[in-house]
C-alpha cells in the first residue's frame, strides 16, 4: 500500500502546518445526523420540542398547538423514535394523546405519507414536524385511519367540528373515549 502511505504522509505534513481539526461527537452516524437535524430546526410558534430523551434512547417528543382549524385550542403529543437506521428509515412516530382525527387512529398510528411510502433520507425532523402540523390544519378524509372521523368530515364539516370539540374535551364518540387535550389558559 505504498501509494496510500505516500498520500497519508502528504496529509500529515499538511496537517502539521494547519493545526488540529474537529472531532466527531458521537459514535453513531444516526445520532450525528439527528443532532444535525436538531441544530437546524426552525420551530414555528405552534410546536414545542423536548429533547430530554434524545441522548438516552433516541426519542424526541413534540407538542403541537394548532392556532387555527378544527383543532385550534388543543395540544397534541407525539413521540418520534429514531433507530440506528436513521435517516435511511423514517423514525417511528406515535401520537401519544388519544384523539379523534381522520388520519390518526385511537392507538396513535399516524397516516402521513412521508413517514412511510414517501420517506427519503433527504427529509429531516423539520419536515416531519411540518407534516404533522399540516395534519391538524388540513385533515384528509380520503386517507382515513379513523373511519368514523373521516365519514363525519365528509358528511358535514359542522358536525365534524362539533365532534372534534367533544373529543378534545375528553368526551366519548362511537364508544371510544378520547383524551382531554385542551390548552389550559
Amino acid at each position: 500500500m505504498l501509494k496510500l502511505r505516500q498520500m497519508q504522509k502528504q496529509k500529515q505534513e499538511q496537517l502539521k502546518s494547519e493545526g488540529t481539526s474537529q472531532a466527531l461527537k458521537h459514535t453513531k452516524a444516526s445520532q450525528i445526523r439527528l443532532q444535525k437535524d436538531l441544530n437546524n430546526v426552525d420551530l414555528p410558534p405552534t410546536i414545542q420540542i423536548d429533547t430530554c430523551d434524545v441522548a438516552r434512547d433516541c426519542t424526541l417528543y413534540l407538542q403541537i398547538y394548532p392556532d387555527e382549524g378544527f383543532y385550534a385550542g388543543g395540544h397534541f403529543k407525539f413521540s418520534l423514535h429514531f433507530k440506528d437506521t436513521y435517516p435511511i428509515e423514517a423514525p417511528q412516530v406515535k401520537c401519544t394523546s388519544k384523539i379523534y382525527h381522520p388520519n390518526i387512529d385511537p392507538q396513535g398510528n399516524v397516516c402521513l405519507n412521508i413517514l412511510r411510502e414517501d420517506w427519503s433520507p433527504v427529509l429531516d425532523v423539520q419536515s416531519i414536524m411540518i407534516g404533522l402540523l399540516l395534519l391538524f390544519l388540513e385533515p384528509n378524509p380520503n386517507d382515513p385511519l379513523n373511519k368514523a372521523a373521516a365519514m363525519d368530515f365528509k358528511d358535514s364539516a359542522a358536525n365534524f367540528a362539533k365532534n372534534v370539540a367533544i373529543a378534545m374535551r375528553g368526551g366519548s364518540l362511537y364508544g371510544e373515549r378520547y383524551d382531554y387535550v385542551m390548552q389550559k389558559d
Binding site: E138, N140, P141, N142, D143, K154
Partner: protein, 459 residues
C-alpha cells in the same frame, strides 16, 4: 423451511427441479473447475462428471470430502481424460451442460471437433478472465424475469367485458367520492374524452385531460389516484398488437432449435403462438398475462378489475391450448400457463457456434469502434493462455508445472479472487442455461480485474 428457500425465491420449484436433475460435465480439475463445481453443488445440482487432465492436482481449497458435504445427495464421478472415448459424440450426448476450464490444447482440440451439448468455456489469466456460452442452437428463455415491464392493460382496445366495466363508472367529477377509482378507469375515460373531441390521441393529450379532471375534483381530496393516472398516461397509447422485438427474434430463430426436450416444447409453443396471433380470436393480441400492478383503488374496485383480467387470461390460455393440442405432442398445462404469462418477455440468445474462437475474432473486435484497445489485448492474451498451441503435448506442460518453484506459486496466490469471480459467473450462467430462466450472456463475457471493467461481446 427449505434449505433452498433463498434461491427458490428466484427460480421457484420448476427451476430447482431442472437444476437438481441436470447432468453436468466439468472438463478440467484446476481451481477454477473446483470453484465452479462448488458453486453448482451449493444450489443443489446433483449429477456431475469431472474430467481430469492428470492425476496429481494443485493446492486446492476444496479437497476430498469437503465438496460432497455441500450436497450429500450429489454424485460426482471423476474420470481421466481419454481421447478414444471422448472424441465420440455419444460420450457427450448424455450431458445437459459441459463446463470447460481446461487449458490443455490436446483436449480442447478434440472438444472443438466433437458435437457438444450446450457448453461454457472459461479461463483466467492473472487479473483477467472470460466466460463464453457455446451452442450450435439458439437458447430460448420463457421466464426471463424482466426487472421492468409495461403492464398489458388493453386500455386502448379493451375486450367487451372490460369495456363494459370501464364505462360503468359515472364520472361526475364535482361529486366527492372519486378517490377509490383505479387509474385504468381514469385513463380510459380520459381517452374517451379526447376521442370524443376528435383530438389526436397522444400521451400528452391524455395527460392534459387528466390534469383537467384534477382541477375539477372536490377540494380537500388529494386526488392521489389522478396523479397516479397522469404518471401512467403512456399506458393509454401502448400498442398491444405490436409484437415486441424480442418475440420477433424468437420467431426468426425458432427453426434453428433442435427438436427434442425443452427446445421442442418451445418450438411447438412458438409455432402455436404464431397461429394464435393470426387467428380471429386473438385480434393480433398476445395472450393476456392476467396480472395487473397495484394501484390506488378501493379493494372492491381493484378486485373487480383483477378478476376481469384473470378471467380473460384464462380464456386466452384455453384457446391457445386448443392450438397447441393440434401438435399432438403433450405439453403440460403448467408449461402452457407459464408460456402464456410470459409471451411478451420471451427471449432468445445466440451462443457462440464453435469452441475455438474464430481466428479473426479478435480482428473483428478491433474493428469495432467502441472496442477499447486494452480489451483486444486482454482477449488475445486469454485466448493464447487457453489455446496455447505451442503446448500441444500435455506431457511437456505437466513437466513445466512441476518445475514451477514455490515462489512462483506464492506469486500466483494474489490472482485467486479472479478465478473465484470467473467461477461465480460460470456457475451463474450454468444455472440460467439449465433452468431456462433469466437471460444468459450473449455470448462472451470478458473481465478486467485491474480496471474493474467488463464487456459482453458477440463472437
Amino acid at each position: 423451511m427449505d434449505k433452498y428457500d433463498r434461491q427458490l425465491r428466484l427460480w421457484d420449484r420448476r427451476g430447482q427441479e431442472l437444476l437438481t436433475e441436470a447432468r453436468i460435465c466439468i472438463v478440467g480439475q484446476s481451481s477454477l473447475g473446483q470453484e465452479v463445481l462448488k458453486n453448482l453443488l451449493l444450489p443443489g445440482a446433483s449429477n456431475f462428471t469431472v474430467i481430469t487432465e492428470k492425476m496429481q492436482s494443485d493446492q486446492s481449497f476444496f479437497e476430498g470430502g469437503s465438496l460432497m458435504r455441500l450436497n450429500p445427495r450429489a454424485s460426482i464421478e471423476t474420470v481421466c481424460w481419454d481421447t478414444n472415448q471422448m472424441a465420440n459424440k455419444h460420450f457427450w450426448e448424455k450431458f445437459d451442460l459441459v463446463v470447460i476450464v481446461t487449458t490443455y490444447f490436446k483436449i480442447l482440440e478434440v472438444l472443438s471437433k466433437v458435437k457438444l451439448p450446450r457448453s461454457l468455456i472459461c479461463c483466467t489469466h492473472e487479473f483477467s478472465g472470460y466466460v463464453r456460452f457455446i451452442s450450435p442452437h439458439p437458447h430460448f428463455v420463457i421466464e426471463s424475469h424482466p426487472q421492468h415491464t409495461t403492464p398489458d392493460l388493453r386500455i386502448m382496445n379493451p375486450w367487451t367485458e372490460l369495456k363494459y366495466y370501464l364505462e360503468s363508472f359515472d364520472f361526475t367529477l364535482e361529486e366527492d367520492d372519486f378517490s377509490d377509482v383505479p387509474y385504468i378507469v381514469i385513463i380510459y375515460q380520459a381517452l374517451l374524452s379526447v376521442k370524443k373531441r376528435g383530438d389526436p390521441v397522444s400521451r400528452d393529450a391524455i395527460k392534459e385531460e387528466i390534469r383537467g379532471m384534477r382541477a375539477l375534483v372536490h377540494e380537500g381530496t388529494t386526488g392521489a389516484n389522478l396523479y397516479e393516472a397522469e404518471r401512467f398516461a403512456h399506458l393509454a397509447t401502448a400498442q398491444s398488437e405490436k409484437v415486441p422485438d424480442n418475440l420477433v427474434r424468437c420467431f426468426e430463430l425458432l427453426d434453428q432449435a433442435p427438436e427434442n426436450g425443452f427446445d421442442q416444447t418451445v418450438q411447438i409453443l412458438l409455432k402455436s403462438l404464431k397461429i394464435y396471433l393470426g387467428s380471429d380470436y386473438s385480434d393480433k393480441q398476445l395472450p393476456l398475462s392476467g396480472s395487473i400492478p397495484d394501484m390506488i383503488s378501493s379493494t372492491e374496485n381493484y378486485n373487480n378489475l383483477k378478476d376481469l383480467y384473470q378471467k380473460k387470461a384464462k380464456e386466452d390460455v384455453k384457446y391457445f391450448s386448443s392450438i397447441v393440442a393440434k401438435s399432438r405432442v403433450h405439453i403440460p398445462d403448467t408449461v402452457i400457463n407459464t408460456f402464456c404469462k410470459n409471451t411478451k418477455n420471451l427471449r432468445v440468445v445466440l451462443p457462440s457456434r464453435s469452441l475455438c474462437f474464430r481466428p479473426q475474432a479478435t480482428q473483428i473486435l478491433s474493428q469495432q469502434q467502441d472496442a477499447p484497445t486494452d480489451l483486444v489485448k486482454l482477449l488475445t492474451d486469454l485466448i493464447n493462455k487457453q489455446f496455447k498451441i505451442s503446448d500441444a503435448d500435455s506431457k511437456n506442460k505437466m513437466d513445466t508445472e512441476k518445475q514451477s518453484n514455490s515462489e512462483m506459486k506464492s506469486e500466483s496466490k494474489k490472482f485467486y479472487p479472479v478465478i473465484s469471480l470467473i467461477a461465480g459467473i460460470a456457475a451463474q450462467e450454468s444455472i440460467k442455461i439449465l433452468t431456462h430462466q433469466f437471460v444468459p450472456i450473449e455470448n462472451t463475457f470478458v473481465y478486467n480485474g485491474i480496471s474493474n471493467q467488463s464487456w459482453t461481446l458477440k463472437l
